[in-house]
Amino acid sequence: MSSKYDVLVIGGGNAALCAAISARRGGASVLVLEGAPKFYRGGNTRHTRNMRCAHDAATEILTGPYTEEEFWEDLLRVTGGQTDEVLARHMIRESKDILNWIVEQGVRWQPSLGGTLSLGRTNSFFLGGGRAMLNALYLTAENLGVEVEYDAEVTDLVIEDGMFLAARLKRPINGETEIRATSLVAAAGGFEANIEWLKQYWGEAADNFLIRGTPYNRGSILKMLLAKGVQEVGDPTQCHAVAIDARAPKFDGGIITRHDSVVFGIVVNKHSQRFYDEGEDIWPKRYAIWGRLVAAQPDQIAYIIFDSTVVTSFMPTLFPPIAGQTIAELAGKLELDPAALERTLTEFNAAVQPGTFDHTILDDCRTEGITPQKTHWARRIETPPYLAYPVRPGITFTYLGTRVNKEARLLMADGKSSANMFAAGEIMAGNVLGKGYAAGMGMTIGSVFGRIAGREAARHAKN
């Protein structure tokens, strides 16, 4: 007879570990199945650095209050209203207590990192980064008696009438290839590393996407759940995607391949044409649209162009900028048409209006008479050497997911809620994020819904 757990958690990141800890603290026996090897455990959490939580007053590490209402307005703005208000407001309310709860699980906060723009009030940073956060959660979970298995790929879920019965494994654990549990928490992330799946929606363009996390985020659990009658949520082409250095590795380049220099220059495509307002809003609210913008350009490539006056305005980069003493030389190195790039820069420089530059606010440095406009932080690019970063879409995580209710309980395609299946993290992020992104929200979704899912899964199992 096979062993049976109260709660089975599939996945090994922030959401999964918060669920496991919360279920264990609720008195349940818990097994965590992480599909990746130990070093790569934790999905995208290993690359994160902060979490966005509401708070009514400044704290030791946060410079001022960030009310539920302001959080909600930010979410509304970045998603363009494509969010489930009831769930989102619930999440925002719960996020306040997460600031303390996560510390009780061993995670440590620190003030916003040096060089990160404008996040000091809204986002709490993990001391030591996302992997340190994960290490703390795993240590706590193991000390509480949560069992964890790595390289534990799930090949099938046995689900009957919206009721989870068992998970089948590729590699036997303790001689068993089937794990039974009273409740299931699915916290196994999105399908961003599954290029074939991405191609269903993006076509061949997906071949030019770089994946910011590990190759293990293949969305197999998401696919199984949707195939077995769980209700789908979200647009399959929507995702958290940023512009990252085109020289980055295909997988797992993480944070250090990203560029924060867009607002200090202009961005052109392979035809040397600008295609979007580089100064639309402050960077933490806009960085996550640039992946999609670049994805929509020919060959999914673009170039951030700036000059020597701004090189110290943003964080140093892993890959050095490509430099040219003249625009033509730079264009040559980028394999762009020199005449076209010179024309674009000349037109841009001529359109720049006088103003007082301040990257921390929506300043009055803007262009006039060109399309698209650069509405803030527009300054002439005219001091050699001219510099450029080539960028491609870097996919962090996808938004297509499983629909849940406020208990993080899965809803079935017929609208009924599942008796014993819950979901947390990126696998259900699409409930809150219809599109767009604001820094640190993925971790909020993971911790808040992970904690809820674990608690509810344990409650179901103990009843």
Binding site: Q110, G115, R131
Partner: protein, 368 residues
């Protein structure tokens, strides 16, 4: 490109780390790194000596091996640090002592102890060497006080001179961008940081040594060793004052200040090095600069030997073993002194200088 392979690698890592910065709350290395966008040899040697090898940045790094970025800051900086000791050694001709340091230290220690034994045997009658001597001046029956004082003063002054010249070269090399002399406030800050090993704590949870759990006790063992060493040094200093100011000659009774200080220090110098040695032998290979194992263990062994021979001398000083034990103890201390500038001892000096520099940089940043 830098002068050495390890500095090239350290430069590569600091470029990776400077575009990440997740570790900035863990210790002083990363905030110091963030004050720079490019790294000279001096900068990298500064950062290498600022690193206390707590291991946290390795365990917390998403890019540590087997990741293709292959980021291993503790090990890289450990190698760079050890190479910096040789690079700044004075006189430079003796920098080779760092190459096979374990062997050098063992040979020097063995020769030194043998020299004292043979010297005692040659200069003293057998009855004196194995005789029982008690009361004030007992030790000086085996070796005249003035000879002892002259020999050890010379060794000590040489060690001081070599250390000063070495650290001066280091200080000049890490001088940019702020340069200049150390100020009192920064020195005081560095004394506090060094005194409590502020940066040997994994950013608060503790250090990593044999696995990914922060259970390391090196801080405790280091405190025992360091403060044990200081207490022994204080014991010798007080005894010197007794001798010259009060005209009171060693050995002193067990309750007297030099003996109390020396006993407490000796216990630290026995327990501390044992703990450090066990920690070293258990250290995860990915964190260990295995080529410097000899240097690390050599220094630990010298401190341990000094502690053990000193304690044995105290316990058996009223027996016929006193003569040989005094020779062994003096031999160990003499070897410790003359090898100080050419072994692991220098880590404390360079790290202290780096901490002073860091305190200065923090002040200048806060002031700007």
């Amino acid at each position: 490109m830098h002068g050495t392979q390890i500095l090239d690698e350290a430069d590569r890592l600091m470029t990776v780390c400077n575009s990440c910065r997740y570790c900035e709350g863990l210790c002083a290395v990363f905030p110091a790194m963030e004050m720079r966008r490019a790294f000279s040899d001096g900068d990298l040697n500064y950062l290498a000596n600022l690193c206390h090898s707590c291991g946290a940045c390795y365990v917390d790094c998403q890019f540590s091996p087997p990741h293709e970025f292959n980021v291993n800051v503790p090990k890289t900086l450990a190698v760079a640090r050890a190479e910096s000791y040789a690079a700044y050694a004075w006189p430079l001709a003796l920098s080779g002592a760092f190459a096979r340091n374990g062997l050098v230290i063992s040979i020097v220690a063995a020769l030194s102890m043998a020299a004292f034994i043979l010297g005692f045997a040659a200069l003293n009658d057998r009855n004196v060497l194995f005789g029982v001597h008690t009361g004030p001046g007992a030790f000086y029956k085996l070796m005249p006080h003035n000879a002892m004082a002259a020999l050890f003063s010379a060794a000590f002054l040489f060690a001081i001179l070599a250390l000063v010249m070495s650290v001066r070269a280091f200080w000049r090399d890490i001088g940019t961008p702020i340069g200049g002399r150390a100020d009192g406030g920064s020195i005081f800050q560095a004394m506090r940081d060094a005194g409590e090993l502020r940066y040997l704590h994994g950013g608060g949870v503790g250090c990593y040594n044999e696995d990914d759990k922060p259970t390391d006790r090196r801080k405790l063992y280091h405190h025992l060793t360091f403060y044990g060493f200081l207490l022994c040094f204080a014991a010798t200093s007080v005894a010197t004052l007794y001798h010259y100011l009060l005209g009171r000659e060693a050995p002193y009774p067990w309750w007297d200040l030099p003996v109390v200080l020396g006993t407490l220090g000796g216990i630290g110098l026995i327990v501390g090095p044992i703990g450090l040695f066990i920690a070293k032998s258990r250290r995860a290979p990915e964190l260990l600069d295995e080529n410097r194992y000899g240097m690390d263990v050599g220094f630990i062994a010298m401190l341990f030997l000094t502690g053990v021979t000193g304690m044995l001398l105290l316990l058996l000083r009223e027996t016929s073993a006193m003569g040989p034990l005094l020779a062994l103890h003096l031999g160990a201390v003499f070897a410790l002194f003359i090898t100080m500038p050419y072994g692991k001892f220098v880590h404390g000096i360079y790290r202290f200088a780096a901490l002073v520099r860091y305190a200065q940089e923090r002040r200048s940043e806060a002031g700007s």
